[in-house]
Symmetry: C2
């Protein structure tokens, strides 16, 4: 199992990258072993099955997200800066090599995933949606931003947009992503 050994971390990091670039069914232990300069048996030592590896990728992302959200320093940040952080998280995927977001990658492969991974990515998306809805609700109440309808629906809408944006960027050009983000801010009566 993966704890914090260097090799484990290198495997996990590369696997996350490949998953978001090629999809869950698009990368293999062979890809990993070649690029890391080790044999596939070594990877199986750290992650016995591909399900173990995939699950840890999702759980790692969940922990990263929840850690940021629960950090008191971040919780007291102005609403707009918290939204900026969310948006930068997506933009970071683009910069790292046209990755799509983890949720989008796993959603399109969803019905081929082991149940443990399905449940984990469901949890992640639920937490993300909940946090974003609260953020927007606060933003509207405090007059920082403006939008119609329920904050929960607007949150779902914005998260869908960010998810789709990284995918369209692959087809229509990376500059499209920033244009879409600008439009989101415009629709919220904000400037990025």
């Amino acid at each position: 199992m993966a704890s914090r050994g260097t090799t484990s971390r290198r495997i996990l990091e590369l696997a996350e990258s490949l998953l978001q670039r090629l999809g869950y069914n698009g990368f293999s232990y062979h890809h990993l072993s070649q690029e890391l300069g080790i044999k596939n048996a070594a990877i199986h030592y750290h992650f016995p099955t591909k399900e173990d590896l995939g699950l840890q990728i999702v759980e790692q992302t969940r922990k990263r997200f929840n850690k940021w959200c629960n950090n008191p320093e971040n919780r007291i940040l102005p609403v707009k800066q918290q939204l900026d952080w969310l948006v930068q998280t997506y933009h970071y995927n683009l910069k790292l090599g046209n990755r799509v977001c983890l949720i989008g990658a796993l959603a399109t492969d969803y019905y081929t995933l082991p149940a443990s991974m399905q449940n984990a990515v469901k949890e992640l998306s639920y937490e993300l949606q909940h946090w974003t809805a609260r953020l927007l609700e606060n933003g509207r109440e405090s007059g920082v931003m403006d939008f119609k309808g329920r904050s929960n629906h607007k949150a779902l809408c914005i998260l869908s947009t960010l998810t789709g944006s990284l995918q369209l960027a692959r087809l229509l050009g990376n500059e499209r992503h920033q244009q879409i983000v600008d439009q989101i801010y415009l629709d919220l009566n904000l400037t990025y």
Copy 2:
């Protein structure tokens, strides 16, 4: 090659369904042959390689889209009805069994696709974006809808939202899709 023989059409239809449910790397000739009650060699007779099959799926969708857009009966429809048609196209994927849209499915698998498919899906997304931008531009000029910024950016934003929405629906529940669509209409100062 596939023309209009019954078997070819059955293969193409099932392959399209599997592609949008399981991803390009998530379905096989074995899946197809089992469900159609024929042998995988028969499928190779109609579609020699998986690339041939995948390419025809994309080209079929392109033709379907362009045929609708270029139909004079549809071109004279009120702007809102044309937008409704676009939105229903996405909703239809959901009804057919939680399919994601073709563009979303192929975008996440993009870097594992043969070049011919990459080019075809690029073309499709370009045509879709162009048509949607013109639709929104007309809608705003005629006072049917309202939004800030460039119509081209708003079009990209809405298409991203619809793409992501079918994916989030898998994780958060199908009812989320309609909520997201309602929000899109609300943001356009329209009612669905």
